[in-house]
């Protein structure tokens, strides 16, 4: 036996490092939801849909930028706040895929008991999933908006003006992300089957948009007043379009939601808060009993 032989210890090693607790666990779940939304750490086939959709929503922005620079335009043809609204179908498609991926999978695979045995509370799960998905949607919207900003700066538009408008766009994108994420999560959380969740989210978002547009048009035919704009509360995209106009004074994509009434601004704001809070309330109720406890 030689004196310089080595003992390879492959026994169980205990962990005596820090345990970061509830806040860290919450962050980890939020990040996991965000990563899952873009298929990171997932097999290739999960990555396809989100990244195709990222491509689809960014390409128009690239085209706009190219046209603006080549034809030496004075301003962007589509504003930072209008862009996400104009792309509402792509945003709905993204949500239809991602919301069920965030919650239906956990329901189907029965993962809740594992989360519940971790140092988090049941409500943390709901909030982490909501914020994770909202963050994913916000990033999805932020990408093309930022492409527009880069284009505007390359075209030598006024830097201060563009930055301010871009910040407005990012803010309204965040509002839209929270609103549509809350709605999509509620729809997705009621089925273990992802296909059903996808269909439910897409159908609901598309139908709401059509329904609200028709009602607004009908009211406008009956009277010249702008009271029809109030029907914007029925559709998340119209609502955010109207809120952008009301809060930031930007030109809405859909002129029919334009209103100068302070009352309308109040109605829109209250509608936003009520919808998001209501959806979160439903989600919390939905997950109160999940996990067999």
């Amino acid at each position: 036996m030689t004196t310089n032989s080595v003992i390879h210890n492959i026994g169980f090693r205990h962990y005596d490092g820090p345990r970061l607790g509830r806040g860290w666990a919450f962050r980890s779940l939020l990040l996991e939801t965000l990563r899952g939304a873009y298929g990171l750490g997932r097999p290739a086939k999960v990555k396809i849909m989100p990244w195709v959709l990222v491509g689809l929503i960014t390409i128009p922005a690239l085209v706009i930028v190219a046209v603006v620079i080549l034809t030496k335009q004075e301003s962007l043809p589509l504003s930072y706040t209008s862009y996400p609204i104009a792309m509402y179908l792509l945003v709905s498609l993204f949500l239809a895929g991602r919301a069920p991926y965030a919650v239906s999978r956990d329901l189907r695979d029965g993962i809740m008991p594992l989360y519940l045995s971790r140092p988090i509370k049941r409500t943390d799960y709901v909030y982490a999933k909501f914020l994770g998905l909202a963050l994913a949607v916000w990033i999805y919207l932020a990408a093309p908006i930022t492409v527009l900003l880069i284009g505007a700066l390359l075209a030598k538009f006024s830097v201060g003006h563009e930055l301010l408008a871009w910040l407005g766009g990012m803010f309204m994108a965040a509002v839209l992300a929270c609103l549509v994420s809350s709605i999509a999560l509620v729809l997705a959380s009621f089925t273990k089957r992802r296909g059903l969740g996808v269909a439910a989210v897409l159908a609901t978002l598309v139908l709401l948009n059509g329904f609200a547009n028709i009602l607004i048009a009908v009211v406008r035919m009956q009277s010249s007043e702008s009271s029809g704009a109030l029907f914007a509360v029925l559709d998340p995209y119209l609502l955010v379009d109207a809120l952008g106009a009301a809060w930031l004074g930007v030109v809405p994509l859909n002129g029919t939601v334009q209103t100068d009434s302070v009352l309308a601004t109040g109605v829109f704001t209250v509608a936003l808060v009520v919808i998001v809070a209501g959806m979160l309330g439903i989600l919390l109720r939905r997950f109160r009993k999940v996990g067999g406890v």
Partner: protein, 293 residues
């Protein structure tokens, strides 16, 4: 420690109370010095839980899943990765760690479930029916693994089963509950102590062997089968005497076996409530039983 009870006896409910997920209908409980009613977060940071149900995501790899679960338990990112690799090696899944869980066999999935309960190096793990759905070989492997967790890893284990034989093999303490009420709490050694008899089987001449044993003052009881009988183990020399006599008579000794009680025998009859359980707050609903290391 083994927790035994029929289906619906309240084993899983007891674990959920101890994890601080549901309040007990009466009584109090504490784990590792933490109150189950108010300090659930601290408990769940220091305790691991392997649920009975299917609870694994199928489309990600065991590594990806375990890293996430380790982070959910509060481990920093780097430690989570290290411990994931360690834990997967200990449960024998190191080779398959990058394959997605959907392609695993039932036995491998059970080991992933065990691994997620151990990955954060808990002081105590609750294993709810860990051998459920496994074939005999898989059961043996799982039981060996559990024995290893307890003996080599120094992690206290509470394992539930409706099969007494399994718990007999791996636990040093057995708790029996039924209808949420403690029936019996005793050490396995005590439960399966020597009954004080020796089973002997010889090829022939059994009567002569019995006669000589009686001459030496031993109490011999013939059993139904030809050539076999039982000797009371009044003193340790009895077994030597049997061997000696058998050698003298030149008969073949087929069997010389100490007879142990099996847990199944003990619990087969009327459920007995021993002295210790009388001190427990007994109620119709599950009451908590204090578990300390």
């Amino acid at each position: 420690m083994g927790l035994v009870g029929a289906n619906g006896a309240g084993k899983s409910t007891l674990i959920k109370i101890l994890l601080g997920l549901i309040p007990p209908t009466s009584g109090t409980a504490s784990i590792l010095g933490f109150d189950c009613l108010t300090e659930g977060l601290q408990i769940r940071e220091a305790v691991g839980y392997m649920p009975e149900s299917e609870c694994l995501p199928l489309d990600i790899s065991a590594t990806e899943f375990l890293v996430h679960m380790a982070r959910m338990s509060g481990l920093p990112a780097n430690s989570a990765r290290e411990r994931t690799a360690d834990t997967l090696r200990h449960v024998g899944l190191y080779e398959e760690r990058y394959r997605s869980i959907g392609g695993y066999s039932t036995g491998m999935k059970q080991r992933v479930k065990l691994a997620q309960a151990l990955v954060h190096d808990p002081k105590l793990v609750f294993l709810d029916e860990p051998t459920n759905g496994l074939d005999p070989a898989g059961r043996d492997e799982m039981l060996e693994l559990i024995a290893k967790v307890s003996a080599n890893f120094g992690i206290a284990v509470v394992v539930t089963s409706h099969l007494l034989g399994e718990l007999e093999r791996i636990s040093d303490h057995i708790v029996v509950i039924d209808g949420g009420v403690l029936q019996r709490s005793t050490s396995t050694a005590e439960a399966t102590q020597l009954s004080g008899s020796l089973l002997v089987e010889v090829t022939d001449n059994a009567d002569a062997v019995m006669e000589r044993l009686r001459e030496r003052g031993a109490t011999v009881v013939a059993s139904g089968a030809a050539g076999s009988f039982a000797v009371d183990l009044t003193e340790a020399s009895v077994s030597d005497a049997v061997v000696e006599i058998v050698a003298q008579l030149g008969v073949g000794l087929v069997r010389l076996q100490r007879r142990r009680h099996h847990l199944a025998e003990i619990f087969a009859g009327e459920p007995r409530v021993d002295k210790r359980s009388a001190d427990e707050p007994s109620a119709d609903e599950p009451t908590a039983h204090e578990v300390t290391e």
